[in-house]
């Protein structure tokens, strides 16, 4: 089998804090192929952003440290690569979109200059050519009057426009893979849909791989091919998007799905998973979800569930679930 576009294997990240060592990512594996979208779903603090930072090589270190695993990009391990080689890959082949475009754009540079910089740094283009390409790019992400707005500063754009510029910047060199870290969280709902649509369209057009990090189930339903659900620094379930929505194989996923407000049960109390996510400094024994799990048994307190292959009568391949009782959950 040909090397996958991005193959994260058993990645482990820990943070040294004053109170001890926090295991933020405890053995995460996921993979994306060209032209596919993987959504990484999880609450705040579940380790989904830290995983992405480790992949991009922008982990704050210290205190953060990658303690194990591999990040294979086209079969080559980014973690063991030299700094200079890795820098060349970043931006050109591997790009990232940040959550808050206002803070991710340099406030003292006009946006056109920041876009043009991509071409100057990576392609060695002249300033004039780079500028022309920057305007084309802004046009491509549907910034109205792009030629005139190229000289404007980030704070002069609205939130949706800024996120488009952020997307344009990540798209500039037509990378093979984009990691989008909650790209629509800072936007209001109508703009969210436009931005997601733009992102999905660009992904199709350039046949890129996309890793979409989010906590919003509504965002991923339309655009993702596969979903990986993270909890307490681990992947608890992976499944093709439709299977996951139809028949979750992990109680946590079911809890998340039940928490989504529905239009048809107006006026009822919203469902919430009881309890709070565990502190990474003091993970519960056994299955980290057991204190909050409606299905928890004695075995859950003692034994950490491995990632089981979910197969057989479920009729769906390539699914995994880290629950001792995935069969029962699946047929619930």
């Amino acid at each position: 089998m040909a090397a996958r576009l991005l193959d994260v294997r058993d990645l482990r990240v820990e943070f040294r804090t004053r109170d001890g060592i926090a295991e933020a990512v405890g053995g995460v594996s996921y993979a994306v192929d060209a032209g596919r979208t993987l959504a990484v779903l999880g609450e705040s603090g579940s380790g989904k952003s830290v995983t992405a930072q480790a992949v991009m090589g922008i982990l704050d270190s210290p205190p953060g440290r990658v303690t194990g695993g591999q990040v294979l990009f086209r079969g080559r391990d980014l973690l063991t690569m030299g700094a200079e080689e890795r820098r060349r890959i970043r931006g050109a082949a591997l790009a990232m979109i940040f959550q808050d475009a206002l803070s991710a754009l340099n406030p003292v540079l006009p946006v056109g200059a920041q876009l043009a910089e991509m071409y100057e740094v990576h392609r060695g283009m002249s300033r004039r050519d780079a500028r022309r390409r920057a305007v084309e790019l802004m046009d491509r992400v549907r910034i109205p009057a792009a030629g005139q707005r190229a000289g404007d500063y980030p704070h002069q754009f609205s939130g949706g426009m800024r996120q488009r510029i952020m997307i344009a910047m990540a798209m500039a060199l037509e990378p093979d893979l984009i990691i989008a870290d909650e790209p629509t969280t800072a936007l209001d709902v109508t703009v969210q849909a436009q931005v997601m649509e733009l992102l999905a369209e660009l992904r199709r057009e350039y046949a890129m791989g996309l890793v979409l990090i989010t906590h919003d189930l509504g965002v991923v339903a339309d655009v993702a091919d596969t979903i990986a659900v993270m909890y307490a620094g681990r992947i608890v379930e992976t499944a093709p998007v439709r299977d996951l929505y139809r028949r979750p194989a992990h109680p946590y996923t079911r809890g998340l799905l039940d928490s989504v407000p529905r239009v048809d049960d107006r006026g009822e109390r919203l469902y919430a998973i009881k309890g709070a996510p565990p502190s990474p400094l003091a993970l519960p024994s056994g299955c980290p979800f057991h204190p909050r799990c409606p299905r928890a048994q004695e075995v859950c307190r003692v034994e950490r569930p491995p990632l089981y292959e979910v197969t057989a009568d479920a009729g769906a391949d390539g699914r995994t679930s880290a629950c001792h009782f995935w069969k029962e959950e699946l047929h619930a």
Partner: protein, 356 residues
């Protein structure tokens, strides 16, 4: 291929025709946040401030306000520096201090403009005489014209102030910036060295270091002030870089493949330089008074250099019978120091309104 703009995708963004753009929503980034109706002004030098963002001037679509035709006086792009300049122009403190400083710099370069006499020429017969026609400030102990000497004294003060500030700001921000950016042992080493220089009492240090210097030129004094002044700037620069380094756009620059040097120069430095400019401008005033103090004590500038400090020193013993000898150079010194400190205050208010 760029696609034609599709209004379907833009229900939330109000699109005005070119020229009438109403600025973006959000607007969280605007420092100062002045009204939007400022007239489009071409590049204007920021007086007093050492720099006006060359990173803006260099851009091909900067500085051609006429290009955005249509619509009356569209506001051009407004970053921190445009905003700051907009605020400064309307600040009477800034205008007053800037005018004084421009005047001082002019007479420092060309004292002949307003003083036709010779600052060295003395007429002992008129020693300590009061004001006379053509000699409005009177005569000093050697019978030299106090007015001429006061005017010529500006040169030493301004030279020392500007050169020492430039030196300290350059050295301090380079060392502090690198320490803040790279951190680790380099940061620790530099901070400890800075602490050592902080620990040297300025006057004691001046008496020790400068008493062995026999040259009468301004350069030993400039060097001494730079030596003791850079740690202050480097601390500010370090702190500022450490803060800016954490921002998402620096991460973004790294993620998109910018090298360390590029990140530091293009993304961190322009965002971190404001506090350094503020501190340096205020320090300029104190450096001038430091020069006068050292000269007063006899270890700074030495005769025949004309300096307010030297004149104040020789006048101090005569204060009862010839107070005019003391008042004029001392007054000139006070006004100069005050002007620079006021300028620093105004620049600080403009660049960092949060400090107000």
């Amino acid at each position: 291929m760029p696609e034609p703009f599709d209004p379907r995708y833009d229900m939330t963004e109000a699109i005005a025709p070119a020229g009438g753009r109403g600025g973006g929503g959000g607007g969280g980034g605007g420092v100062g946040g002045g009204p939007m109706d400022l007239p489009a002004s071409g590049p204007q030098p920021l007086k007093g401030g050492p720099r006006r963002g060359p990173w803006r001037l260099a851009l091909p679509w900067r500085g051609e306000p006429g290009r955005r035709s249509g619509g009356p006086a569209a506001p051009t792009g407004r970053g921190l520096w445009t905003d700051a300049w907009h605020d400064l122009r309307r600040n009477p403190v800034f205008v007053a201090s800037a005018l004084i400083i421009v005047f001082l710099v002019l007479i420092a370069i060309w004292p002949q403009l307003i003083a036709s006499g010779n600052p060295y020429h003395g007429d002992l017969a008129r020693a300590q005489d009061g004001p006379a026609p053509g000699h409005p400030f009177g005569y000093d102990l050697q019978g030299r014209d106090v007015y001429t000497r006061t005017v010529y004294g500006a040169r030493a003060s301004i030279t020392v102030g500007i050169c020492a500030t430039l030196g300290a700001a350059l050295l301090g921000s380079v060392l502090g910036g690198l320490a803040g950016y790279f951190g680790g042992w380099w940061d620790t080493l530099l901070s400890r060295i800075a602490d050592v220089f902080f620990g040297i009492p300025i006057l004691l240090g001046g008496l020790v270091f400068l008493s062995v210097v026999t040259s009468g030129s301004v350069w030993p004094v400039v060097g001494f002030i730079v030596l003791l002044g850079w740690p202050q700037i480097s601390r500010i620069a370090r702190g500022s870089v450490v803060t800016v380094k954490e921002h998402d756009y620096v991460q973004a620059a790294r993620v998109l493949g910018a090298s360390s040097g590029r990140t530091l120069l293009r993304h961190i430095a322009p965002n971190a330089v404001a506090p350094v400019i503020v501190v340096a401008t205020i320090a300029l005033g104190t450096y001038i008074s430091l020069e006068a103090t050292l000269s007063f004590l006899g270890v700074g500038l030495k005769p025949p250099t004309v300096s307010w400090g030297i004149d104040i020193s020789s006048a101090a013993t005569q204060i009862r019978n010839a107070p005019h000898m003391l008042l004029w150079p001392a007054g000139a010194l006070s006004i100069t120091v005050l002007a620079f400190i006021m300028l620093g205050d105004a620049v600080r208010d403009a660049l960092d309104p949060k400090l107000r």
